[in-house]
């Protein structure tokens, strides 16, 4: 919401574009889609770009005429930067976003803890970046609009969806009227209130939590570094928790929990929001002017579909799961979903993989969601305890944290890390016989190498990391031209070999999304090639 007299897209710092509906002749000519993507938010656009990277065309449908209103999700985690980089679009994000590593916690007005998220010279990206969602959408849109393979139809809502002989028939409504599109596959990226989900008769399962929270963005000249502040039991909201984040363009995010006696209706009234924000700014010593930019209210939920696939329809992002805000996993997991289904569907449609690869999407990404639920629920209970016992122990831990590091660890938020796809059909079984290094299913470990980073050596398809020179030569002769594989020879012994627990002759097979598909302490070329064929479900591969 925005202050009285300003429309939903009347921002202090961002100019929302206006997108027109497709011309009738254009959309009448395009009634076939290899992939129809419903929703042009961050998830839908990322999925389209991931498909385009594999040469697969798509049509995106969105019922709006511009981006989503307001700053919404503002924290982009390190794993998401790898997704953006793999799509070749990380540059504007790096330039605009504010990277950060540090958080400070205050208990009753006193700083009791400063934590640092894992970061080092071996990391290419910072653990977290703050960037308003409309910039995220704008930067993705630059790439979508520039792609010959992606057509976006704004002001076009999906009114009907039914299975047809060749795939899925969508009924689209735009200002010119209704028409149908035959799609081979559909990606439902239409958000928490997914219309596709309800039209398919599917329901999210899980819990609705009681907690309600207001997020308000203000523009102000405020001198504080990009450090996340958490105020526990502050004078401005006794018993509550307040979070403060810095964003680009002098925008600051204030996030506070509502007490039981505060009605949602009253809490989102402009005058109430202004009073609440002023109280927080008084507490942190901001004396200058500030402008109210935008605010919203949300509640914490842990809800997910039992299966992210329904025939030829895949649910991606919030349409498949709604996660609590703590730990910045909504947007980031949505992007991971989009990247996951994007490369898999792309590989199946361009013939590099068998269709069974698609069956790994739901178990991998639903597993990630359940992991998020476990971590975010713990974070939520710490950040906003909902009973006397949880609040007392939280306060005890905070009160001890100043002098006792063990208690501070209880207050350290669980950071978003990439989920490990163990037991997935799209990785080899087991963990590999290694003492260290990323396990099978885990994301590869970034390492500084040759004046750059290991991630820069990875190919756009699968990559084999070969430690020592002998194996690399044999592998080069063992793969065929049809295989999308990059062979990277790495010195051994070396720091990178140490990180990977590798000996001369060791090997890691890395998927296009950076997850380890297999690893061998002492590899031979045939084993690696067989593994590549198995996890891409090629005909004749040993499963």
């Amino acid at each position: 919401m925005r202050p009285e007299g300003r429309s939903e897209t009347d921002s202090l710092y961002f100019k929302y574009p206006h997108f027109t509906a497709p011309e009738k002749a254009v959309r009448d000519a395009g009634t076939q889609a290899r992939v129809a993507i419903v929703g042009a938010g961050p998830v839908g656009m990322t999925a389209a770009l991931a498909l385009a990277k594999e040469g697969i065309p798509s049509i995106i449908f969105d019922n709006k005429s511009t981006f989503n209103d307001g700053s919404r999700a503002i924290c982009v985690a390190r794993p998401s930067y790898y997704i953006l980089e793999s799509l070749g679009i990380a540059a504007p994000f790096i330039e605009k976003a504010l990277g950060w590593t540090t958080g400070r916690s205050f208990f009753r007005g006193r700083q009791i803890l400063e934590f640092h998220m894992p970061d080092s010279e071996d990391e290419k990206f910072r653990p977290m970046y703050n960037l308003q969602q409309q910039f995220i959408e704008a930067f993705l849109w630059q790439a979508v609009a520039a792609s010959d393979l992606i057509e976006t139809r704004w002001q076009s809502s999906v009114e009907g969806i039914e299975d047809s002989e060749s795939g899925v028939r969508l009924t689209i409504k735009d200002p010119e009227g209704d028409y149908t599109v035959e799609a081979e596959w559909v990606l439902a990226c239409d958000g928490a209130r997914s219309g596709i989900r309800s039209k398919r008769g599917l329901r999210l399962q899980g819990e609705n939590f009681e907690g309600r929270y207001v997020i308000a963005d203000v523009q102000m000249d405020h001198d504080y570094p990009t450090i996340r502040r958490a105020l526990f039991d502050p004078a401005c909201r006794p018993g509550g928790t307040v979070l403060i984040h810095r964003q680009p363009d002098n925008i600051w995010r204030i996030d506070y929990q509502l007490e039981d006696h505060e009605t949602t209706e009253d809490a989102i009234r402009e005058s109430t929001v202004r009073d609440s924000v002023q109280a927080v700014l008084d507490e942190i010593g901001h004396k200058g002017r500030w402008e109210l930019e935008w605010w919203s209210v949300y509640s914490a939920n842990t809800l997910a579909l039992d299966d992210y696939r329904d025939g030829r329809v895949f649910f991606v992002g919030d349409s498949a799961h709604i996660v609590p805000i703590f730990g910045v996993r909504g947007l980031n997991n949505g992007l991971a979903d989009a990247a996951n289904i994007g490369w898999k569907l792309g590989w199946v449609l361009n013939g590099k993989a068998g269709e069974a690869l698609l069956d790994s999407y739901s178990p991998e990404r639903r597993g990630a969601t359940l992991d998020v639920f476990a971590n975010a629920s713990k974070s939520a209970r710490f950040m906003t305890p909902n009973s006397h016992g949880w609040r007392l122990m939280r306060d005890a831990a905070l009160s001890l944290a100043l002098d006792h590091p063990f208690a501070g660890a209880l207050a350290n938020p669980r950071q978003m890390t990439a989920y490990t796809y163990s037991d997935s059909p799209a990785v080899m079984p087991g963990t590999g016989q290694f003492d260290t290094g990323p396990t099978i299913g885990a994301v590869f470990q970034e390492t500084a190498v040759d004046g750059g980073f290991l991630s820069e050596k990875l190919g756009s398809g699968f990559t084999v990391l070969c430690f020592g020179d002998d194996l690399a030569g044999q592998l080069g002769a063992s793969f065929s031209d049809a295989d999308d594989i990059t062979i990277v020879a790495l010195p051994c012994p070396s720091p990178v070999a140490e990180t990977y627990g590798a000996e001369p002759g060791s090997s890691y097979l890395i998927r296009p999304d950076g997850h380890v598909a297999g690893r061998w302490k002492s590899a031979d070329a045939a084993t690696v090639v067989d593994a590549y064929r198995a996890v891409t479900f090629q005909k004749g591969a040993r499963q």
């Binding site: 007392l392 122990m393 306060d395 005890a396 831990a397 009160s399 001890l400 006792h404 063990f406 208690a407």
Partner: protein
């Protein structure tokens, strides 16, 4: 730890509870519990203490009205307390 040692701890806790005052006593005891658990360095023993401490705190023996010392506590039923 001798009887005399535990008595010294008992007295010290009583003194501290009075010193921090009624408003902070509960928080003080929660901090103390976390600190002691960390000092034990054995989460199973700490978790057993967490359960054991709730024995004899049923509704009909509200804290402050029952003379805890006169009740014979059977450790085997501690886990069944609400």
């Amino acid at each position: 730890m001798t009887d005399r040692d535990i008595e010294a701890v008992y007295e010290a806790i009583a003194t501290q509870i009075d010193k921090v005052g009624p408003a902070n006593a509960e928080l003080y005891l929660a901090k103390l519990a976390l600190l002691l658990a960390n000092e034990i360095g054995d989460h199973r023993r700490a978790l057993k203490c967490v359960t054991d401490a709730s024995a004899s705190l049923t509704e009909d023996t509200a804290p402050g009205t029952a003379d805890a010392g006169s009740h014979h506590r059977n450790p085997s039923t501690a886990g069944e307390q609400k």
